[in-house]
């Protein structure tokens, strides 16, 4: 058969099959274009079925960009303290690279923090995280994470997009591409930021080679919750409605004349935009939240002195708390993926002071979020993730011949992430690192394994959730790596 004949035979076959199902020829072009939603008159983000039964429905990904120190928060190392000030076994250093550390003179640095066991399982937390420690029985802590990147932007891309390269869709894009979203009046993938901008900036929530339908939409901490949400000044809601009625009528005329179903999709988008104009302000209006809740999250907290990196506009504490509360309101309303980004965990110096500031900001609201979700019965179906892009070195940072080591350098070999809810096992501490926290000792978990598992919690097979790009079927996990789903995390 010639290609033309093959093509015609195929379309004829499809035409007959779909016609039999009651779909007309006009819709067919969309089915063939892979756009079955448009064909069925559904918006592109309409909910879709996963590959298999899911455990989680929504995800709140708290991204601590800059790389928090696992050694001072989650992974106690008495041996490291013992070896404080000593040089490292040079064999371990062979072939390793650092951003700033000078290998020759670098010495180990113990944590000044006190660690204790919490919850029924006895999960370790340092004294910087008293509130989160109280949620230990809901938390799954993975201490044996590792990544391929040791600079921030590539590392952040890998954590969000699977590889340390540009032009790839982020986890939120893949989830909304795979599952759509429950609430058509709000974006399916929302980004909330507090403090200053991250290394990755907007590249962390772009949709890469997926259509921009699946890009993250940034909600703002202001009355104008979404970019361009408000009508132009002087245009009342009733004239917005009247205008859109006119637009719909004119577009419908054109649809009748041109017969292109894209015009129907256009009409639907404008109607969605209109509904968003009321749904988004309702979402960020916290006046209905009770005082107890506001206090639990700490939405009115003043930002203390210090934290020069994490202060942002000086409202970081209140903004971060508000973002956590907003995240709950979003998943409650069916937003699929909420990404809370806070970008000030890159502590090359004054580690202890900076960590005190940042954990002071985040500990209470993150714990409040987990408890709140639980109380509302949302935790079972909401996966909360707390992670940075890599970890920090057991070696103190001795850049530029500094006299005293007060910080730690980038460490891709071993770091810790936390999860709660969404079908993961509470109280599980998974994986270990060696006695100084240099590298995983048991059950190492590559970032891609974590991502494959995250998708599996949502009923998606990371090898089947693909999109054609640059000559191959791409996915969230690298196509050249064998990634594994870690079933041990499932509750």
């Amino acid at each position: 058969m010639s290609p033309t004949q093959e093509y015609l035979a195929r379309t004829r076959r499809d035409f007959l099959t779909t016609s039999a199902c009651g779909l007309g020829g006009v819709a067919l072009s969309h089915i063939l274009a892979g756009n079955s939603h448009a064909a069925a008159g559904l918006p592109p983000l309409a909910p879709k079925l996963p590959h298999f039964a899911p455990k989680a429905k929504n995800c709140i990904f708290i991204f601590m960009a800059g790389a928090p120190s696992q050694l001072d928060l989650f992974d106690p190392k008495p041996k490291l303290k013992e070896l404080h000030g000593k040089k490292m076994d040079s064999e371990l250093l062979e072939g390793k690279r650092f951003a700033f550390i000078k290998k020759e003179s670098a010495v180990l640095m113990g944590s000044p923090r006190k660690f204790a066991r919490h919850g029924k399982s006895g999960m370790w937390f340092s004294d910087l995280l008293p509130h989160m420690a109280g949620c230990a029985d809901d938390i799954c802590m993975v201490r044996s994470m590792h990544t391929d990147q040791f600079n921030h932007h590539p590392g952040q891309l890998q954590m969000q997009c699977g590889e340390g390269r540009f032009g790839l869709p982020s986890t939120g894009s893949w989830l909304t591409y795979g599952l759509g979203t429950e609430n058509q009046n709000l974006p399916g993938y929302v980004v909330l930021t507090a403090g200053r901008g991250s290394s990755g900036g907007a590249t962390l929530w772009q949709s890469g080679f997926l259509p921009s339908t699946y890009a993250g939409v940034r909600f703002r901490n202001s009355t104008d919750a979404l970019l361009n949400l408000k009508n132009p000044e002087g245009l009342p809601p009733q004239l917005q409605r009247a205008g859109l009625d006119t637009l719909r009528a004119l577009n419908n005329n054109h649809l009748a004349s041109m017969g292109d179903p894209e015009i129907a999709s256009r009409i639907a988008s404008y109607e969605l935009a209109f509904r968003m104009q009321s749904a988004a302000p309702e979402l960020i209006d916290l006046s209905g939240e009770n005082q107890r809740m506001m206090e639990a999250y700490g939405t009115e907290r003043a930002t203390p002195k210090g934290g020069n990196r994490g202060r942002g506009n000086g409202k970081a504490y209140a903004e971060f708390s508000r973002n956590c509360l907003l995240a709950r309101r979003m998943v409650e309303r069916g937003v699929r993926f909420v990404n809370i980004i806070h970008a000030s965990w890159d502590h090359h110096s004054d580690l202890d002071g900076e960590l005190t500031f940042n954990t002071g900001m985040s500990d209470q609201p993150v714990a409040a979020l987990i408890k709140d979700l639980k109380e509302q019965g949302l935790l079972d179906e909401t996966l909360v993730v707390w992670a940075g892009e890599f970890g920090r070195t057991p070696l103190g940072e001795n850049r530029n011949g500094r006299k005293a080591n007060t910080g730690r350098d980038h460490h891709p070999n071993a770091f810790t992430i936390l999860m709660a809810g969404g079908g993961v096992k509470g109280g599980l501490s998974y994986g270990t690192t060696d006695e100084i926290g240099w590298q995983p000792a048991e059950n190492p978990v590559h970032v891609n394994d974590f991502q494959a598992t995250l998708l599996a919690l949502f009923g998606l097979d990371h090898e089947r959730l693909t999109y054609p790009h640059a000559g191959s079927e791409r996915r969230l996990t690298s196509i050249t790596r064998q990634s594994r789903v870690i079933k041990e995390w499932f509750s």
Binding site: M1, T4, G25, F150, S198, T203, I263, I267, G471
Partner: protein, 722 residues
């Protein structure tokens, strides 16, 4: 005669059970789906690969032949797929169906014909063919006919949007509609192709491929205040119709040309558009390697439509590009380094006064030669050069025509550039015409524009693609001539209206039974709003500008380090292609409409349709200001006697046609409702008009027209090219 026989056989064959098995349509998809994952580039298990023809006809590691032509019983492939032993049977997960097995058996029995990949063969000439004759013949096979020619207003708007990226003015529309003499359309085409907007529009396509931006990318994302200079070079080259071979040679290797001019040096800034990581603690050599890999991959993807980048770590899983061949290609760019050069500030005559006064030289980022040794990197890791594999010399993939042996020393980037545009290269001209076609029809003849590799089935319109490629060569690489040829075809001039019956037979419009409709690109959204409302400043070239963006967008860049100082005066209203493109905090008015993020080369943009876009065009400052200005423009036009004439004019500006009576009454109702509101709320009327209040008109009328103009600007027809 031979060709004719084959066609007859194929045609006859398709209706009988004994048809010969077709490798491309029947066998290759099976191998790709079930076998290549293990027996492919990444893991050539058993020592053979279904990605390479020569591999499957030679003994594998076991000594057995995967395929013996004509002998199914001697072919290990067949033995394995039919084995009942679970440990032996392939594929291990699930056996093939008996039908699939039969297909493979029959194919081997028939001689296992494995034709060379179409795209690696030279384009074939169809005698006496034209675009229209080829399209007519393929439509005829499907029992279809071309659509009638589109109406004049549609034609002129389509042409303007495709060629200039701007809507036609009412005057241009009227002139064209009144010109009933023969050749009116051809004259319009020629006039349009001569306008400077042509270079701007088509340069923007090229900037996508070049991953052009005004900043470094990565965390620091420092500004590149001289980047615009190369952008202007592209605009000029396209307006001057610089032949595509020269255009290629100057950008890839201008610095190596004899008697090199500053402009030729500037051209090499194509490969200075890579990202540059200035984050603390970055290994400079690692980042240089990354940029070199990007140059390698971008060159092969953009000119040859081969995705080579995966071969940096391992042999290509599907295409015949080995890891060694990747590093041979890489070696051309490894023998180059980044440098600064002095170039003229701008070509004289092309810009307004201020530039001329400051005439002189400026710095530009360019490339220059620098000899380095290249080694294969184990798994693509620059810290693991495979020294034992020896130095890798610059070279091109063996599957493509041979690179001439250099007279002395190693082959250079100049040799590579000349090889790319050698008429004997089967890919370059095809890739170039496919790109041009896609800009004029919304889809390439090869839909996946960046992949002409072995996974790309021959396009249904292969004859047309080849015809166009040969036309491009015949015109000595004149893109303007090829574009003109396409624009004048009946195929291009068809109506885009959907026809029910034809859609049933040819739903993807692959046979081109009509033109396509599609939303204009992000930049053109802005340009349409600004041009129709009279705000657009037509100045070609110049440094990048800073139209208003929401203040918290720039704050998203690293540590809020970037200050966006909004342009004032004319620079507030330039075409969107001149907007300063900050990689980590790009203008949301561009990004929301699928404008690429400039981090990697892009051959084909997405065309999504989201409520976020609707919110932008309804509420964003830039778009709303256009509505304000449009109301002012309509109301201050004294040649419009009444409301009906004003509505017509508004439609003409936005859609190139007048309103129908039904549309007029719909619009009049909105005008009335709005007027009634603003009569009661005069202060709201003033607010809505902002800085574009027309004093001699009652405030309520002014505001009512703004509330109406914004809706006509948002019509699907306004933002769609059809």
């Amino acid at each position: 005669m031979k060709i004719l026989v084959v066609i007859t056989l194929l045609t006859a064959g398709s209706f009988t059970a004994s048809a010969a098995v077709d490798f491309i349509n029947e066998v290759q998809p099976l191998l790709t789906a079930h076998c290549i994952k293990c027996h492919g580039g990444i893991r050539a298990k058993g020592g053979f690969s279904f990605a390479r023809k020569e591999s499957v006809f030679s003994p594998a590691k076991s000594g057995l032949h995967p395929i013996v032509s004509g002998k199914p019983e001697a072919s290990e492939l067949l033995a394995r797929i039919t084995s009942h032993d679970e440990d032996e049977r392939m594929p291990p997960e699930e056996p093939l169906t008996s039908q699939q097995i039969e297909t493979l058996r029959k194919w081997i029995e028939e001689g296992a014909i494995w034709p060379e990949h179409w795209a690696f063969q030279p384009p074939r000439n169809t005698a006496g063919a034209t675009i229209d004759s080829l399209v007519k013949s393929s439509l005829g096979k499907a029992g279809l006919k071309r659509s009638p020619e589109a109406g004049r207003h549609t034609l002129i708007r389509r042409l303007y949007l495709d060629i200039l990226g701007l809507p036609p003015s009412p005057a241009a529309i009227t002139t064209f509609e009144k010109d009933t003499s023969p050749g009116a359309y051809q004259r319009l085409v020629d006039r349009t192709l001569g306008l400077p907007g042509f270079g701007e529009r088509w340069a923007r396509h090229w900037l996508d491929a070049a991953r052009y931006a005004d900043s470094d990318g990565y965390e620091k994302d420092n500004a590149r205040l001289d980047a615009w200079r190369w952008r202007k070079w592209v605009i000029d080259a396209i307006n001057d119709d610089m032949p595509f071979d020269q255009f290629t040679i100057e950008q890839l290797a201008g610095d190596l040309l004899p008697n090199v001019t500053p402009s030729q040096r500037l051209a090499t800034a194509f490969h200075r558009q890579t990202l540059f990581n200035r984050e603390g603690g970055v290994d400079p050599e690692e980042d240089r390697t990354k940029r070199t890999i990007d140059r390698t991959a971008t060159t092969s993807s953009n000119w040859l439509a081969l995705s080579m980048e995966c071969a940096q770590c391992h042999d290509h899983p599907y295409d015949p590009v080995s890891q060694r061949e990747f590093y041979q290609f890489y070696a051309f760019f490894n023998n180059a380094e980044e440098a600064d050069a002095q170039v003229p500030k701008d070509t004289p005559g092309a810009v307004a006064g201020e530039e001329k006064e400051k005439a002189g030289m400026m710095k530009a980022r360019v490339m220059r030669a620098k000899e380095r040794k290249t080694f294969i990197f184990h798994r693509g890791d620059f810290l693991q050069p495979k020294k034992d594999a020896g130095e890798i010399l610059p070279g091109t993939p063996a599957v493509l025509p041979e690179l001439p042996v250099p007279a002395k020393g190693k082959s250079t980037r100049l040799d590579l550039a000349r090889w790319i545009v050698d008429p004997g290269n089967p890919l370059t001209a095809r890739v170039a015409v496919n790109d041009i076609w896609s800009r004029l029809f919304g889809h390439g003849l090869v839909e996946n524009k960046a992949d002409f590799g072995t996974r790309s089935a021959p396009p249904i319109q292969l004859e047309l693609l080849d015809h166009l490629a040969l036309e491009l060569l015949k015109s000595e690489w004149s893109r303007k001539q090829l574009i003109r040829y396409i624009l004048l075809s009946k195929t291009y001039r068809q109506s885009a209206r959907h026809r029910h019956k034809a859609t049933g037979i040819d739903p993807g419009n692959v046979l081109l039974h009509r033109q396509n409709r599609f939303r204009v690109e992000g930049e053109i959204m802005r340009d349409i709003f600004l041009e129709t409302s009279g705000l657009l400043q037509h100045r070609v070239g110049s440094p990048s500008v800073f139209p208003p963006i929401p203040p918290d967008v720039a704050a998203q860049s690293y540590a809020g380090s970037f200050k966006w100082k909004t342009s004032t005066g004319a620079d507030r209203y330039r075409r969107a292609m001149y907007t300063f493109f900050k990689r980590t905090a790009a203008d949301p008015n561009l990004i929301a409409f699928d404008c690429p993020d400039a981090n990697v080369t892009v051959a084909k943009r997405n065309r999504s349709n989201t409520p976020i876009m609707a919110l932008a065009t309804l509420g964003n400052e830039v778009f709303h200001e256009a509505a304000q200005a449009m109301a002012k423009k309509i109301l201050s036009n004294s040649s419009l006697p009444d409301q009906a004439a004003r509505i017509d004019y508004c439609f003409l500006l936005c859609t190139a046609r007048k309103a129908t009576p039904k549309e007029k009454s719909t619009v009049a109702t909105l005008l009335e409702k709005s007027r009634a509101y603003y009569v009661k709320n005069p202060s709201e009327a003033d607010k809505l008009a902002g800085n574009h209040r027309l004093k001699q008109i009652p405030a309520a009328d002014n505001a009512a027209w703004i509330a109406t103009a914004r809706i006509i600007l948002n019509l699907d027809e306004t933002i769609t090219r059809q």
